[in-house]
Amino acid sequence: MLNFAYARPDSLEAARALMRETDGAAFIAGGTDMLNRIRDGVDAPDILVDISRLDLDGIDFDDARLSIRAMARNTAIAADDRVRRHFPLIADAIEAGASPQVRNFASAAGNILQATRCPYFRDAASPCNRRDPGSGCSAIAGESRKLGILGVSAFCIATHGSDLAVALAALDAQVITMPTSGGRRVLPIAELHRLPEGTPEAVTNLEPGEMILRIEVPRVSADLRSAYVKTRDRASFGYALVSAGVALDVADGRVRSARIALGGVAPRPWRATAAEEALRGVSPSGDAIRAAAALSTAGATPTDDNRFKIDLTRRVVERALAEALA
């Protein structure tokens, strides 16, 4: 472990001031990802700003939205009756991720901001554009079976590892933040994470020191049908090879709207918009589902190692749609 300073501000304002005025500061919330980053040598903050005891815990719910505050622990979110009743997709996605021990500590905001598990990013001795800009991507010519096929670039093929973020993407969530300049900012979840393009080191559209305060999920339909399907190399405590979170609004036997988000295949939760379009207005037969699922990997650019993910993604989407409609 490298030496670093540790601060525990006693208010949001104090946290904001600290982040604004201090170079090399990083938030620590549940710590389940940050500690691994430090131990792996991929992150070396000069000061850790602990926000875990600020007044950021809890879940609020009203007719318009579910609001998950930044420090709500993953276990608590998944166990919340209102979440389970109205947004089972969120509970299902959380419970498909990590282990109970990790979920007990992991915060909502920390979960969706977790760093990639690309093994080259986590090995400080390997070139990695995301960790060390300009050093090259080891994964593209390396071992890439678990890495991305959508939204990747010639500079980075890392995937985003959060299951919760996939569910939130399928539910059109938004994050409410506090920039260091003050005030509040609203970011749709689709705009939170950046694609790597030529600058994979820029992972999110958050400004330096900007803090997520809460995640809001709109209530658009009283009877949303949803499912979360995840494939991985063991039964639990494994990152997705491919996952799909789907949310369907179905009325009178027809799909009014479909939202399909993918995990394990892209640098951020990936909305399969072509597949969503194909489902709109159709009555969901097996053929219609398969036809839509086949569009879920439009634009994929796999490596030889992960070409199978194209087929697997379509299959996982097909299963998720079928489960949601069952």
């Binding site: 282990s99 598990r117 190399d233 299963r319």
Partner: protein, 733 residues
């Protein structure tokens, strides 16, 4: 002997409380006054030379005491005998990624580890050989190992018999590079006092570590103490000293302080061994009735270019699992730039059976012969390789017992017939096999005036339950309660014990304890009859019986004296005897056998594979300690799930660096992957190989699981998978 055990109950682990309450001490728990901490920095390249190394930033880092590289560490004049032929920090040549290039000594583990990141090295790098494909061109035949593991074998005329066989199969399988990955990383603590050194080592072979330390540091063996209370899992990666153990002792001598070192998890992927990948070609010829006529089994395994001392003898099971007159086997090693491999549960047979038993399964469908029946037709009647009879042979019984208990007769013969919702269900089986191993071992058994029995032997507890099993042996033979027996182990100066590996401990050390306990009873009887103070004075010692903690005259039950009473009058208030077990060639051979039965559920749409039922049936001699034996079996079968479905150490195809060198990236089974597991031990008591009647358990139990799972997947899906591990994309349908 008085049986203390029955198969349902039996004693619990004597060390269980210490383990679950955290009082059990492991190497990296060792605390010594004034101790410092050592961490190694690793090479970024896998092949080449270190041309320059800058340690100034590390030396200046907070808490750092000293930094050692090949430039300033003394050269060892006797660097041989360790698990790896090349000792790091003794030269500038890099043979594999993460090879140590510097050792940092600091006041805390964190300071040492942090400073390793400040080491800057320049290299003259060459492209490494990082794949089996690239290494195959230079494959070579390895040296014979320990007399009986020969690189080639031939009986009959296998090639001609294969060519002439009416039914033939030409089969290729691949098994993966895998890590031992015990929870406890290899760790060493070393402390010098003049020219005497004490080494606490996470170690499956402390006797050898003592010998090698004496040789390495050119001091008498009696100047070396090697201790360890508990080892946190070994699986083969802690059998005697790796270079890191001797380097820790060397650096401790240099800095003049006790030094403690634990490898990082990443370093466990390069500097503590692994099971090498294999590629096996198997050709089998059968008669129409399914009887084997020819086996040609050729295996190539991954090996390090710099260290050709290990071979995965994967073709060996073809020599003695099934009956076959014509067998030819061959082994080669394909050199790559990777760390040194070593034995890993379960070596050789563990991967060789994957070839044999997936091929036999395939043939069972082609011939229309049930897989169990096909194996029953090929029972090995004797050891055809060594041309000896088996001492016992329960091969048919393990298949029949397993088939009955698993409900095999309800299994449809055709593939893809069982379905439950989205899942296809398949049922498969395979044989399990390892040699019944044994080697020289000694144990001292003593009893004192309080009737307290002490068993002492220089073995170590690696999690298998050895203290419990040895306690049972002594308690049963002496007829005293378990709680009157204390087992001393984990000290290399105790009576000599072999490595705690290769499934030898119960057979060897257990037999030594049995012989020691018998000798102790004789000694007690002789002491009693020669002592006027004994009620047994003057009787013929040979005519007495010694049971239930006492010696008695069978003709006159009133003439009786307890062991404790005899011991009370002995010099020092104690009587002891040494048991020395030395295996003899008895005119027969023996093996540990089993059969694995597996049910899998495969969701072919999304490639989800679950093992839903498992049964292991084993013929492994007399079961000494039922609970720990069963624990070995279930653990070994879970180990096999990992081999079948998850474990693979990925080497980067360009740099030859281990890619997934962490528990977050290289999976082993978690609870959700493990179904209910049934274990049956068939009656196989056999005192021919050793007086205890036990046989090797620890490794046979994991063999056969991977082919049984692959065979069950075929039965479910019709997909014949011959490359391990089997993952989602392979079963899509």
């Amino acid at each position: 002997m008085t049986a203390l055990t029955d198969l349902k109950t039996g004693p619990s682990r004597v060390e269980g409380r210490a383990k679950v309450t955290g009082t059990a001490r492991y190497a990296n728990d060792t605390m010594r006054p004034g101790m410092a901490h050592l961490a190694f920095a690793g090479a970024a390249i896998a092949r080449g030379r270190v041309t320059a190394i800058d340690t100034s930033a590390a030396e200046a880092a907070p808490g750092v005491i000293a930094v050692y590289t090949h430039l300033n560490l003394p050269k060892l004049t006797q660097p041989g005998g360790m698990r790896e032929a090349i000792v790091a920090l003794q030269g500038d040549v890099i043979h594999y990624a993460d090879q140590f290039i510097a050792g940092v000594v600091a006041e805390t583990p964190a300071a040492a580890e942090a400073a390793t990141r400040l080491i800057r090295a320049a290299y003259d790098a060459e492209p490494p050989v990082s794949t089996m494909d690239a290494a195959m061109a230079n494959a070579f035949q390895p040296e014979q190992w320990n007399g009986f593991r020969t690189p080639t074998s031939s009986r009959g005329d296998a090639d001609a018999a294969y060519a002439a066989a009416p039914v033939r199969i030409d089969w290729t399988v691949e098994t993966a590079m895998r890590q031992h990955n015990p929870i406890e990383a290899n760790a060493t603590m070393a402390e010098w006092d003049g020219d005497r050194v004490t080494i606490w080592n996470a170690d499956q072979y402390i006797v050898e570590t003592r010998e090698i330390a004496a040789r390495t540091f050119e001091i008498p063996e009696e100047n070396v103490t090697v201790l360890i209370d508990y080892v946190g899992g070994g699986y083969g990666c802690k059998v005697g000293p790796w270079p890191h153990t001797m380097l820790t002792a060397l650096i401790a001598r240099e800095v003049g302080r006790p030094v403690r070192m634990a490898l990082s998890r990443r370093q466990m992927y390069s500097s503590a061994g692994y099971m090498p990948a294999t590629r096996q070609r198997l050709r089998m010829g059968l008669a129409e009735d399914g009887r084997l006529q020819a086996i040609v089994h050729e295996s190539v395994c991954q090996g390090p270019a710099h260290d050709p001392q290990y071979c995965e003898w994967a073709a060996i099971p073809s020599r003695y699992l099934y009956a076959c007159e014509n067998v030819r086997t061959q082994h080669r090693v394909a050199p790559m730039h990777c760390g040194a491999p070593t034995t890993m549960r379960a070596p050789h047979e563990g991967v060789g059976i994957f070839a044999l038993d997936t091929a036999l399964d395939e043939l069972s469908y082609r011939l229309g012969i049930d897989p169990v029946e096909l194996r029953l037709r090929n029972i090995a009647p004797r050891d055809q390789h060594f041309d000896l009879p088996w001492s016992t042979n329960a091969q048919a019984e393990v298949y029949r017992t397993g088939a009955e208990a698993f409900g095999w007769s309800d299994r449809p013969a055709e593939v893809g017939r069982l379905r439950d919702g989205d899942e296809l269900i398949g049922i498969g089986m395979a044989s399990a096999l390892r040699p019944n191993t044994k080697t020289n071992a000694e144990a001292r058994v003593s009893i004192d005036a309080e009737g307290q029995v002490t068993v002492a032997s220089a073995t170590s507890e690696i999690g298998t339950g050895t203290p419990t099993a040895l306690s049972i042996v002594a308690a049963e033979e002496l007829g005293v309660p378990m709680d009157r027996v204390t087992v001393r182990m984990g000290d290399a100066s105790l009576p000599r014990a072999p490595f705690v590996a290769g499934s030898v401990t119960m057979n060897s050390v257990g037999s030594a304890v049995l012989l020691g306990a018998r000798a102790l009873k004789e000694r007690l009887a002789e002491a009693a009859v020669g002592d006027e103070a004994s009620p047994l004075f003057g009787l013929d010692a040979a005519a007495l019986v010694a049971n239930d903690g006492a010696i008695a005259d069978p003709a006159d039950p009133t003439r009786r004296e307890t062991f404790a009473s005899v011991a009370a009058r002995a010099d020092g208030g104690e009587v002891s005897a040494l048991g020395a077990f030395a295996p003899e060639q008895t005119g027969s051979n023996s093996r540990s056998l089993g059969a694995q039965f597996v049910e899998v559920r495969v969701d072919p749409l999304i490639g989800r594979i679950r093992v839903s039922r498992m049964l292991g049936v084993f013929a492994v001699g007399r079961i000494i300690s039922p609970k720990t034996a069963r624990s070995q079996a279930t653990g070994g079968m879970i180990w096999g799930i990992g081999e079948a479905l998850m474990e693979k150490t990925e080497l980067d195809p360009v740099t030859a660096r281990p890619v997934n060198a962490s528990f977050l990236d290289n999976y082993v089974p978690v609870q959700g992957d493990v179904p209910d597991i049934d274990v049956i031990f068939v009656d196989d008591a056999d005192t021919d190989p050793n007086p205890l009647g036990s046989k090797s358990i620890g490794e046979v139990v994991s063999t056969g699981v991977a082919p049984a799972i692959a065979n069950a997947i075929y039965h479910a899906t019709g997909k014949r998978l011959t490359r391990l591990p089997i993952t989602s994309e392979m079963v899509l349908g």
